[in-house]
Point group: D2
Chain length 364, copies 4
């Protein structure tokens, strides 16, 4: 083998699942660190997540592609959702997706694949690792629900946007003595709602991890009125659930949701409060704005560090891991240890206790 060939590193890269704010910053971190430390380098960017790997859609990326994208939202590679549970199922043309991905990898002679994504993405990344590919995973999600890392990128940027929404609602709620709900994203976990709720000074915070009792919620509003505070702000997670619904089986609950007349859970909470208290409750749904826009400085630092640490792992040829942030230090965490696990808000955690002590009602 020629020396030149030996030296050439071929790195694949893809972003999968719902997009979020610092995907480009993370890819830039990886590539900047590699380019400054490896003489011969070829970056293959797969388009629209695993789809690009399955169907061999990619483009060669140069340092120019990574210039000026530190602050750019979205992903220059595009993304798509490819459910893990369908990965073993052939596509409409009978194509074996896993075999196809392995094939693309081998054909291009890749040294490793850098995969940016959330929980579902991580499971497929782990599957590819089991299939023998060299994988580095970077933990992306506004939901902050990835096990094995203190924080995911996108999370702080999303907190900022959701908090902005609550801040804006605050002035109007106070001027009109109204009850307002801000529905916060976060999928099935409450991290985003908890942090944005505390940051925004919400009076009531409803999380999936702490099923709410509507009576407690109504009492909390009542108490505020008695104390002369004419308005109340609720931060409600899109996955919030009542005590009654939490008692249902998953299947029953899904059925109930499917039949619901409400486009999302906070409209239901609004109606329930409204009925009890005989007053109008307004709902704001910032929705996908929470995963868009330019990444905040916190996420840019996080991603530059994670990306640089990923590059080091590649130089060390130490694969099969997620690059995590633990106690302020980047760390390689084996995918085998974390794939398939979910990090949820512990109702007995220090932070929940601290929040409750300041008077925030969690509906329990």
């Amino acid at each position: 083998m020629h020396k030149e060939e030996a030296a050439m590193k071929k790195i694949g890269m893809l972003t999968s699942g719902g997009d979020c704010q610092a995907l480009n910053a993370a890819m830039r971190g990886v590539v900047k660190a590699l380019a400054h430390n490896i003489d011969e380098l070829e970056i293959y960017g797969f388009e629209n997540g695993y789809k690009g790997l399955i169907y061999e859609n990619y483009r060669i990326l140069t340092s120019k592609d990574f210039s000026g994208i530190l602050t750019k939202g979205g992903t220059i590679l595009g993304s798509s959702r490819q459910p893990f549970k369908l990965m073993r199922v052939p596509d409409e043309n009978g194509l074996d997706k896993v075999a196809a991905m392995k094939n693309t990898y081998k054909k291009l002679g890749l040294d490793c694949l850098v995969i940016l994504g959330g929980n579902g993405t991580q499971k497929t990344a782990n599957l590819l690792r089991e299939e023998g590919l060299n994988i580095i995973h970077l933990p992306k999600t506004i939901d902050n629900d990835i096990y094995g890392t203190d924080v995911t990128f996108g999370f702080q940027s999303a907190i900022n946007i959701a908090t902005d929404a609550i801040d804006c609602i605050h002035t109007t709620a106070a001027s009109h003595n109204r009850v307002f709900i801000v529905e916060v994203m976060g999928h099935k976990v409450g991290w985003l709602t908890l942090y944005a709720g505390v940051a925004g000074g919400a009076d009531i915070i409803l999380l999936p991890e702490i099923p709410y009792d509507i009576d407690k919620v109504v009492d909390a509003i009542h108490k505020r009125t008695k104390e002369g505070k004419g308005f109340t702000i609720l931060a409600v997670a899109e996955g919030a659930i009542s005590k009654e619904d939490a008692a249902l089986s998953k299947k029953e609950y899904r059925k109930k949701l499917a039949k619901s007349k409400y486009p999302s859970v906070s409209y239901e909470v609004a109606d329930r409060i409204s009925e009890r208290l005989g007053l109008e409750v307004r709902v704001a749904v910032p929705g996908h704005t929470q995963r868009g826009g330019s990444p905040c400085p916190y996420d840019r630092v996080l991603c530059t560090r994670l990306g640089s640490a990923a590059a080091k792992a590649i130089m060390d040829e130490d694969y099969g891991c997620m690059i995590a942030m633990v106690n302020g230090q980047t760390k390689r965490v084996p995918l085998a240890d974390v794939a398939g696990k979910l990090k949820t808000v512990d109702p007995k955690s220090q932070m929940i206790k601290e929040a409750k002590r300041t008077g925030i009602c969690f509906g329990d």
Copy 2:
């Protein structure tokens, strides 16, 4: 009469209708200009809009109340909606509201009443003028629909928030090749949606003033797909209306809305597009966030100028007018000339033509 009494000016002040961003900045402008130019001054702040005037709820405001509020959202006086059409109707205790307001005014010996509010507020302000009170009106609304002024305060701040929402949606829409709707406030007019839509680079903008043809909307999305643009962003006014619905009588349309399963109009637009194109359409509803938060610098300058001009009108004892901004100059516009009129977007205006020329589809 003693000289001292003669010199003392007594000014009432109230904010009425939906709150918006620079109410405090406007009141600060009035009071700063008065306090620097009138030796003896007493400011009566009526609480929660006309309610405070009707039921004699007020507090004496000092310069300290106006310190540091230039950047503060909401209104330090509180607000409430008091529909004009109910003003002549006695309250639940048989109280004649108009007589009560006049009574409060006389009792306190006010020299004039500075009223900050939108169209409805303006009609009542004009009624009080007809009843003999000295009135100055300041044009407040994020809707920008007040006749006789080029711009209202709150409008630019609301544009900024709605545009931020569209910007955030942009990165996520582009990454996922999706169709997104951002529902923008604005009541029955399209100003806010037009400006935020153009500023945010929306591809399709639906306004109340230009009833949309769903086929044209679908065609525009189609055309983008054919041009290789995988995503489309629609800015839809909360008051947007289809051609069919615009053909209904007002009564029929209200009935239809009341029976609608959608919490707001953009969910219906989403469903209609979704049916035609067989793809998911996401909706974001920033809602009341658009009228909250700190006023933008544009609105702060506007309000300082309007407030200062209002103070000058008071010093000149020239009442019965709205302080407007016309061609960059503050101007006193007789309330009699403007009350009850609505400023709407002209579908044939220069700006609509300019927007259409760049390829924006308005659904017509």
Copy 3:
């Protein structure tokens, strides 16, 4: 002549002078409007201002170049300062610059040249017009000093940044009872300082157009202290000038500046106040941050409109003009009428009177 050739439009484009926030938005406006209305179109982007035209440095731009740049600061074409007064002077190799520019224009067979820039740029644009080229000028500058248009693009974005700086200083000044100066850009005119100063609630505003008397400035600070206001904020234009200095000849003043130990004028103002009052005066110089970053929604609407109107002028083959915004309408203003003129703040204008009425000291 073939029909195809007849239909093909060739448009040159360049950005010259100091950059500012919505240059890309304006170019996007022009190109989107042209591309939607002209079948055959070729855009030549000259690099780094007039330099690119002189030395034939250009690239063909496609619609892809203009995608996603509505919100992007800076200029995708690069810019450079090419002083008007040197345009008639040959370059170091004896090249006649004006002849070279004409030559490039003819050689490429351009139909017209769209030039984005400020006052100096405009003068050269007018020179090229006199030389027989088809010119459209778009008024760009954070200084807002272009004659013939109510507003220039970049101005509002710069106001926002400068106001942010004053806002930040406000909280720290108030907490520490200190005197603070924020130095605001604006070249030789005071527009930016006036608007940011009023928007930021500055107590003292010093503009080039109103030479300041240091005694008046010191008195104003004194008066605030007596009223119990422990802090004072000054917005000082980078071109602010004292009464004494304003009495000097231009040449003498330039000499004085050249010998000054201060990097900019506000450090001198700080020292003078400090000496008189025996207290520390802090200076913040946001500097070039004021012309950077993403354009605000106001500027994006402005530029989309100006750009679209420029495209219309091109379609109408109506050249030799600046596209201005006058009383809310875009308008073609002959370059011959405006080139070489400067729009300054009128010390007797309505806005200055309004600002003074609220108690703002201008040092006169």
Copy 4:
């Protein structure tokens, strides 16, 4: 003793040293948590830092004082710098300051004193603890240099502002191919510059902890030019120091600084680069804007948690500590263990290595 007297808690509170963004949020956290958990409570707010404690300037604060201040910059109590080394020196009237502070504390019958401040403040807090007072310290500073806590409040908000400045400079630097310096605060440590520099994508970062070699800096700029990157951005700490100066004794260096013609260190760096490369280098000094404005969501969460944890310590009557954030958990750290120590950037830390790997030059 009556039961009522026994139950009444009297808490003093003061903010000392340079102000920063989340002081009010932290005080709100303490008071909200106390008020929800202690029936009888009296809060004494001392004005302008230790001054208020020395001279008995205070006001009783009610929950109303803490309403709406979560997002408010500065400090509602005012602040002042009272150097630790002068605490044992009598004031101009011969007053023993330490005795006076103890006296005020005893006279009012305080149960404890909550002190918000940085390193200097902490030293005095520890002195008061040694003198027998019950002290809780909350770690406030944009400099992030307090030993014993992972992060201080104000730090992340300041990062955001400094990063914004770099972002704005980025677009203008890129458009003009210029070398720009943004001077970042941080006192004698480099935390703020390091984080803002990485977040802003600075090419060169100069910190007090890593004395710079001007040749290395010039080489880095050169290298960029050779790679076709026409612009370079330097983030320079206000405390940055050259290798030569670092070799001086502290006394000699102070003398040198006192005689320097430059208002701050980055003007000197600019001149040195300018001389070597023969090009203009521009400087932006955001200055005190970095400690002003509304706290970011990160700091609001941090302060709510620290404040709530401080309240718990008070309820537990566990005094003499700083409430720190360590590995994501609030923690009581004995003042005796940390007072007088400084947390600096370790040039061999993981983060510096990660930053260097991506190509950032630190001038060493």
